[in-house]
Symmetry: C3
Subunit: 344 residues, 3 copies
């Protein structure tokens, strides 16, 4: 990479406190995981469970939380994650993306509109009326449907499909294989068979959203499926038609939202969670992994389990559940005692 | 869209009853969601929860169930969903699909057979011996393997992969990223390692099936994995090798069927359901969301939970479960009372 | 297929015992499922549940476990699965893969290195610095990122995406739509919004691994996400950043591993299992389907349920759970008896 900084310089650049012997002069040329880093590298204690790796690391310096005791060169911070993000940004190799221009083997409709510095890689398809914002990159093999509008400075990875009439904001990242704007799952039984309900709505993805690999976000039946600014969706998540996800909401892998689920802002959704349709999850709510959310969850609540209950209640009930055998024995014993008492 | 109908005309076209002041003369030019529609639009009360949106809608008319009281122009029906489907079909803009012909940047083997009016979009691959039925559209970037036969009037969206030797019926819709005919997950342990069992069966998808985005339907080890006429499979569903799904069966997102699961006709499968292998689910059965189905389910039964039990039993047990703390207190109290009685 | 063997020859080739009248002379020309096979076919009793199909099969011979009584021509073995694998390999038609060479409509960077007999199908992209090992096949529409190294004799099916800087071993099979090396899901909250943590690690897939359709395996934040030799990953599985999966481990469909989950060797993971991050699953452990694994699991343990407990304990607790109603009645009865006793 060729980049070189002293730990002192990194302290200034990140605002983290410098600690340890001669720490300011330590030369950093790369970053690495605690158990893989060597001399010249700066590493990161992401989780106290890895304290032992910290003891054994060969890294020249580490970023640690303020309350971890450590007598070697390090950067100390109340938010070590943010410090590490900044350092990673300094040393991270650039992701090799195609430069501006349309690849000779891409298929861009003459009525599509490409703003300056757009890059369209090989085997991409951009249909009529589509608009690609300035500096956005379609890496390769991407499909952008008719009249779909992508914002500026986005990265759309290979094999992403964005169907017609969809809107993406600026700085949106879509990982490989994600599908945006497929038909919602809507069928009306006519007594014997199912008749397809035409899905004529759209999807709106706001600025700074990141969408994981092989995610599916369906278009609305009518109206809009939307994902608010800054929200992050992990791999293999399902967002059904007419869902509305707020801002800065985080959804872990393989979660699924039934049609017309509404999520507020700053919600945290664990992996493999499922929600009932037509419910509302309030701002700052937390849904624990694998939960089955049957009803509305109020702002700030932490729900867990299937069917989901307040987290504390679920923990209490699980503790009771673990004592069931003991309870049954107690009942049996009581029955014996009562029988003996009755005989007297 | 340019389409224009009076509510009276829509009443005749759909068979729905006309109601409200001067309803027959109301001019409809578009459709829209209750909370987004404006004048000239007809909307739809899909769920009584949105009664409030009905009160506030600016739509010129609405489709409502017969038992909803409403004094403005509307269409009334016992099956408002079907009415709305018909109206949507009238006003829905056509999905922009490529017209008949093979795109210059598609790769169709000379020994593939294309029936009349087939459309093959850019970067599609159609291998030797494949057959594409009349009027079927491969939108773009689709893969059709050797000797695979697609029926007529289908729509195969971008990035769908259909491997060799697979059969699809007529009017089948496959959404982006779906994979049909990948190897089943079959390995024989030889004591130390796993040996791959060649997966030499096929997949048969019957007429009028719809397959969601990023679904995976594996080919049979031997024989056939099949999905019956009219069944609808939502996004990210897993259908393992040798499963047999009946007709008009509906499977919600992220459900997964282990190898050799058999489902009857008109089954309804909730989201994130999982089934044990080698079991049979009878006609008209309902499997509640997130259920773990361990054993056969008889026709018409409604199962829910993990492990799944009859729905009513699961509800009863969940109610008991919610009272566990109380039960433990009762036992404790009884123990005290019995102790006191014994002392006397 | 044209292949023809006597059952006697198959007995010699597989080491299975010949049984039944004139068994050695029976001519086999194909294989088939019990309920689909006709004369000339050999079939296989995969599961005792299909004993009835065995009685009714029209196959000329069958492979059966040693303890199944059967008086018609058959091959008998203690490991009938392995016998059947060998027979399948004899009769299985070759999968139609492209022959060596680069398709005219592929896009291979001049600085990519292709070893002998590599096949690159239409619409594949191979970026600068990538290396494809001898005999490996990219079927079609595959993306191989910059500096990614694929081993020899692999098969990469259509629409697979392998991003930059990834390593795959020899004889690796990747099914359609799988995504290897997408960014891990790492974001640092800065108080209000989430800042993306650059994901600069890699993925290493060792020899003889098979990866299912639409699987996602994320690159490490730092360091390596790895899958050990011989492990088999079913469709739609999620492997998060920094997971380490051992050798000969089998993961069923739709399971998901949170970041930095470590799995040992010979682990068996059921469908739809989810694991907490930063935990370790020991060698030979079994995780039952749909389990939610919250904590470390020791080598050889069989865990099941959410939250997962030892399998036997989960079975016991489920049995208790099923008796909850009865327990409540017993308590009620006791309360009545005690009240009567107290009155006396």
């Amino acid at each position: 990479m060729g980049m070189q900084k002293t730990l002192g310089e990194l302290s200034e650049l990140t605002g983290a406190e410098l600690r340890g012997p001669h720490a300011g002069q330590v030369v950093i040329t790369t970053i690495g995981a605690l158990d893989e880093a060597g001399p010249g590298a700066i590493s990161f204690l992401a989780n106290r469970k890895y304290r032992k790796q910290l003891e054994q690391t060969r890294a020249s310096a580490v970023v640690i939380p303020r309350d971890v005791a450590w007598d070697k060169p390090c950067l100390v911070s109340d938010n070590p994650y943010l410090v590490f993000v900044k350092i990673t940004e300094i040393f991270a190799p650039a992701i090799p993306l195609p430069g501006p221009g349309v690849h000779a083997l891409a298929c861009v409709h003459p009525e599509a509109r490409l703003e300056p510095d757009v890059a369209i890689g090989p085997f991409c398809v951009v249909e009529a009326g589509a608009r690609i914002g300035a500096g956005t990159v379609l890496v390769a093999q991407v499909y952008v449907g008719a009249n779909t509008a992508l914002g500026a400075a986005g990265v759309i990875y290979p094999n992403v499909v964005i169907r017609e009439g969809i809107t993406l904001g600026n700085r949106v990242i879509v990982h490989p294989g994600a599908v945006i704007g497929a038909d919602g799952f809507g069928f009306a039984p006519d007594g014997k068979q199912y008749k397809k309900i035409p899905q004529i709505g759209t999807v709106r993805i706001e600025d700074d959203v990141e969408i994981g690999a092989n995610v599916t976000i369906d278009r609305a039946a009518l109206g809009t499926t939307s994902i608010g600014r800054g929200s992050k969706i992990d791999n293999l998540v399902m967002v059904a038609h007419n869902c509305r996800i707020g801002e800065d909401t985080v959804v872990a892998a393989q979660a699924g939202f039934s049609g017309t689920t509404t999520l507020g802002n700053h919600v945290m959704v664990g992996g493999q969670v499922g929600t009932n349709g037509h419910i509302t999850i309030g701002d700052n709510a937390i849904l624990g992994a694998q939960s089955g959310i049957m009803n509305n969850v109020k702002a700030g609540e932490f729900f867990w389990g299937t069917p989901a209950r307040p987290h504390k209640e679920t923990l209490r009930l699980l503790a009771e559940y673990g004592r069931l055998r003991e309870m049954r024995k107690q009942i049996k014993e009581l029955e014996g005692q009562v029988k003996r008492l009755e005989k007297k």
